[in-house]
Amino acid sequence: MTKTMAEKILGRASGKDVSPGEIVEANIDLAMVHDLTGPHVVEVVEEIAGEVKVWDPEKVAIIFDHHVPADKIRAAELQVIMRRVARKLGIKKFHDVGRGGICHQVLVEEGYARPGMLIVGADSHTVTSGAVGAFATGIGASDMAMVWLTGKLWFMVPESIKVNVIGKLPKGVYAKDVILHIIGKVTVDGATYKAVEFHGDTIRNMTIPDRMTLSNMSVEMGAKAGMVPADEVTVQYLRERGVEVKPFGPDPGAHYEDEWNFEVSKLEPQVAAPYSVDNVHPVSELEGTPIDQAFIGSCTNGRYEDFVEAAKILKGRKVAEGVRCIAIPASIKQYMKLLKDGIIDILAEAGCFVAHSTCGPCLGGHLGVLGPEEVAISSSNRNFRGRMGHPTSKVYLASPATVAASAVEGKIADPRKYL
């Protein structure tokens, strides 16, 4: 029988022919925790096994990114625990402060995530690794503890949805606008429990960083995984990282529960208004909304290419009076490249607060928590009530270019006039 990517991967990992709806026990290829979920996992592992251990240290990644560097004593304590665990277990894929970045960025750019892999992470945005053709999904601490102890986890084989995106993206419109548009149409539970595959010429023409934005936000429509078939773009991206892989995709004629078609050649920049990621509007409907803070960064849009687009707008201009713009590259590698190419200079000269890699304000952790009634526009992924700080604050989600244009004007703005 012909199979979707999810069926092929879960079949391979469980050693049998699988169909949607079936529950399988699968071998995990890579298991990732970060500084906030890791200690919870360690607690559970110790409670079950009496000591901390993992089934295979080569297949475990521990990456510090949420409260990085530690911003309070409790966060520091958690990092002390995880450092000790990483050392004790001999975890090579351990990335401490300043030596990695946001976990999802690190998994892809270090070449840890590869086509056809089954990856679990104790973070919902683990789906990001779907950009290189992996089945990657978020799990809780107890499930991760099971994985650490046994290397296995049970899964229900999901139905798959094929998302076809066609058309050349207009100037000023990016992968972020595409995924916001899709979520706006299908809603925040439009893909719950499903494996989503992205197809079509728009996707084929996207770089890996762009595909990461798509895969990353597939969880915002409830998807269990959001995958892009691995093609020559993927092979080349990983080759540059010293990893040789083969293309990987669904079988021709695979069965999909549903197909969604999007034509994007006339798409406008999109903005998700509070307090739901599916409250999506074309930027023209929200232009002029005053903002207090602009944030460019996160696992969704904190890559080199994102800051290059933002810098096109910020170059020679200033962040508006009364607005602060926070720019945080998603990893040390992205930061270094931006530094070498002078992009950090442009951001700093425009008045941006440029920080080292961390999740920071995206989840209201630190480096830009919002006060009462404050409004932010952000290149991140969630605009839930209180997500970035005070429960009365508001977050609008948009592409880095839209965020940059808004920072310059002090209100939500269309980036196209600057490009």
């Binding site: 919870h40 104790a122 809780g140 107890s142 925040v188 539970d189 719950t192 969630r382 209180g386």
Partner: protein, 172 residues
Amino acid sequence: MVTKVRAKAIKVGDNIDTDVIIPGRYLIYTDPETLGRHCFEPIMPDFYERSKKLGGVIVVGGRNFGMGSSREQAVVALRGAGVKAVVAESFARIFYRNCINQGLPAVKVPGISKVVEEGDEVEVDLEEGAVRVYSPSGELKKEFKVAKLPPSLLEILESGGLVPYLKKKMVQ
């Protein structure tokens, strides 16, 4: 026995996300009491007190309850606030798994949010596969038949979650 619980209902809406259940800034904690005190803080700052005063509650949600982050602390927070079960029109995937693993009954009951009103009591009876709604006077308003859980999942719930379940298995 967690498989049959009855308590006052507290209603919430559709698409309740895990940031609303426990905001990100509290993820540095894992203990039920600390997390419980901040449960639902962005939408119902008095949730903890209300729940404790009622001797624990059953949360009645709409569609897609628990969407967003994979934080298992969301379930720990609910437990810490004295929540005995969550019933909703539908659940987000990771949250549902986390509930089972934490021993908190989570039951999908299409139509429940239209029937339950403030002040009602809800009974979750997992063994019989039923969810019953009682008016404040104690009268049975409606009984929903729900799919029974597979025995393995029921056993995890009965044990109080994945950790006590595995410990019990190891002893056996």
